[in-house]
């Protein structure tokens, strides 16, 4: 037993040393000005603006946080940036019209190809699409389970969540949800997945063992169009962006009761949550700003000017 623990802690140490030190940079894709804003999250100041390519939307980090990935829908590519030096590292091929993606713990990117009704698996080390998986129309949200065993993809125009087994790269279940499903998130313990439906104005909980919907709730906020979902580190609280309602809705992650709302900028889409859960960042697509929300008080404490049409964001913390 002692030996096992020793091996385990050594392994943790080894893998921890592979991680880069946090830069506390917040990266924001600006869909309409074809740029990525780089913000120092500790001060809220804009550090620089990067030009990677056309129509940047989905954004994410490699498992070691050394590389930033940006889906360039207009270039059919994934742009890469060195997180520490901000050096632009070139592009990966990503199939037609990549909208967004999620990074698997093994480093592969699972992409939704909006115009092509498929999900692609991209190995960034070899720059190869290693698998294409047929899904419903207008695939959008992608999420990888914490243990990497499954990937979920929403298809907006066929109203489904597709469950992809990552070992076989096969669709193993299709879950019908309310109209125009968009965002996805897993609880950190992996037992639950959450899906938002823009037109159905609904949020649903999926049991990740049975793939059954265990709870749904409509979002009782005027003009709400549910989009991105974030889950607090303790799995108790859910943060939901609501598009033209210009609010983040804060819900109990189990009961889906609304606990409070935070006013943010207009047409709020993407969201990022700090690792400690204290701060939520939102991309406000029409206001051209990022809102900084203190989750303890549910208040926006800062609004930072970025490029045009901010879409998604990711924090290196």
């Amino acid at each position: 037993m002692k030996l096992k623990q020793l091996i385990l802690s050594t392994l943790v140490l080894v893998s921890a040393s592979a991680w880069a030190d946090p830069t506390y940079r917040l990266f924001v894709t600006n869909e309409k000005s074809n740029s990525v804003s780089v913000i120092d999250s500790r001060t809220g100041t804009l550090e620089t603006t990067l030009k990677l390519g056309e129509r940047p939307r989905g954004i994410g980090l490699s498992p070691d946080h050394k590389t930033l990935y940006v889906a360039l829908s207009g270039d059919d590519a994934i742009g890469m940036v060195d997180v520490a030096t901000l050096e632009i590292l070139g592009k990966l091929k990503a199939g037609q019209d990549p909208e967004t993606f999620a990074v698997h713990p093994n480093g592969n990117l699972y992409l939704s190809n909006e115009d092509d009704a498929k999900a692609s698996v991209l190995n960034p080390a070899t720059n190869e699409i290693i698998e294409e998986i047929r899904v419903g129309l207008e695939p959008e949200g992608v999420a990888v389970s914490p243990d990497g065993s499954i990937v979920l993809v929403t298809s907006e125009s066929t109203n489904m969540v597709h469950v992809i087994d990552t070992a076989a790269h096969k669709v193993v279940a299709n879950i019908l949800v309310a109209a125009r499903p968009r965002g996805l998130a897993f609880s950190h313990d992996g037992s639950r997945a959450y899906v938002s439906s823009e037109i159905g104005n609904e949020i649903a909980i999926i049991d990740t063992k049975t793939y059954a919907i265990t709870k749904t709730a409509s979002v009782d906020v005027p003009r709400s169009k549910p989009m991105a979902i974030k889950i607090s580190p303790d799995d108790k609280t859910l943060y939901l962006t609501t598009g033209r309602a210009a609010k983040v809705v804060i819900m109990d992650a189990i009961t889906l009761d609304i606990k409070s709302t935070a006013d943010v900028g207009n047409r709020v889409w993407g969201a990022a949550l700090s690792r400690d859960g204290s701060t939520l960042y939102t991309a406000n697509g029409v206001s051209n700003t990022v809102s900084v929300v203190d989750t303890a008080t549910s208040k926006s404490v800062m609004e930072i000017k970025v490029g045009e049409g901010p879409w998604g964001l990711v924090l290196d913390d």
Binding site: D115, E138, T158, H162, V171, L176
Partner: protein, 264 residues
């Protein structure tokens, strides 16, 4: 106990796979042209319904029939009509189709809405909806030469651009009002079958009239009025450019400010 659970799991997976293998056939009957916009829209809807059906276990088929052949049928799952007002009224009023959803795809006749038949569903915007939309626009822009359309190839909001681009990719032409109506009717039906898991005509009709919130890729979840009219926004178009959406912002009644609001 462990072993038992494992076996139960295997059994359940087996069941779900065999359930998937049993494909539900959904037959739709159609009277109307077999070329042009409405036909292409129907084909687009059918392709998309069958993509969903691949995952959820349905196969949709469109049976093209003449009016006589239709009236000789004993029963139907759903009926799609791109014909004139008289034919539509005759089908909807026929006793054997009293519990079958009869879709008026492309006629804007106000009489079809004011008839208030419980099984008649009108997809395209009515003449009165278009007139009301134009009046709202002209009240603010009296000099405008705009006219009203239900759909436009330049429409991008609410994921309309994605629908426009996949229609153009499939058919090589721009999606117009009639194409949208054909597409929407089939998608309304596939949404209904997927959510009710039923092909019983009466169950489907009840769902369509009372429960659906349809993503027509033109805004909020679309529902039907008791007149059978699909609630929807329409577009003001001038020189082939979209100049506004109706209902115009701030108009009382929202979507129901367009056309005959209710039979009551």
């Amino acid at each position: 106990m462990r072993v038992f659970k494992k076996w139960l799991f295997v059994l359940l997976i087996g069941l779900s796979q065999s359930a998937m293998a049993q494909v539900q056939d959904v037959s739709l009957h159609y009277v109307g042209p077999t070329d042009g916009s409405v036909w292409q829209g129907l084909q687009q809807g059918l392709d998309e319904a069958n993509i969903q059906g691949e995952f959820l276990g349905q196969k949709y088929t469109l049976h093209v029939v003449s009016m006589d052949e239709l009236m000789d049928l004993d029963d139907a799952t759903a009926i799609l009509l791109a014909t004139d007002e008289q034919h539509i009224l005759a089908v909807a009023k026929s006793e054997k189709f009293a519990n079958v959803a009869v879709f008026n795809l492309i006629s804007d006749s106000d009489a079809l809405r004011s008839a208030c038949l419980t099984n008649l569903l009108s997809i395209t915007a009515s003449n009165k909806m278009k007139q009301d939309a134009l009046a709202q626009w002209l009240a603010k822009n009296p000099e405008s030469k705009a006219h009203v359309q239900g759909w436009h190839e330049d429409f991008v909001k609410f994921a309309a651009s994605q629908l426009n681009s996949r229609f153009k990719k499939s058919h090589g032409v721009a999606m117009d009002d009639d194409a949208w109506s054909g597409w929407a009717a089939v998608k309304l039906l596939s949404d209904t079958v997927a959510r009710t898991q039923s092909t019983d005509a009466a169950v489907m009709l009840n769902f369509l009239k009372n429960k659906i919130a349809f993503d027509g890729q033109k805004g909020a979840g679309a529902t039907f009025r008791d007149t059978g009219q699909l609630r929807q926004l329409v577009l003001l178009v001038e020189d082939n450019k979209i100049v506004a959406e109706a209902p115009l912002r701030g108009v009382k009644g929202g979507l129901d400010s367009l056309g005959l609001k209710s039979c009551k």
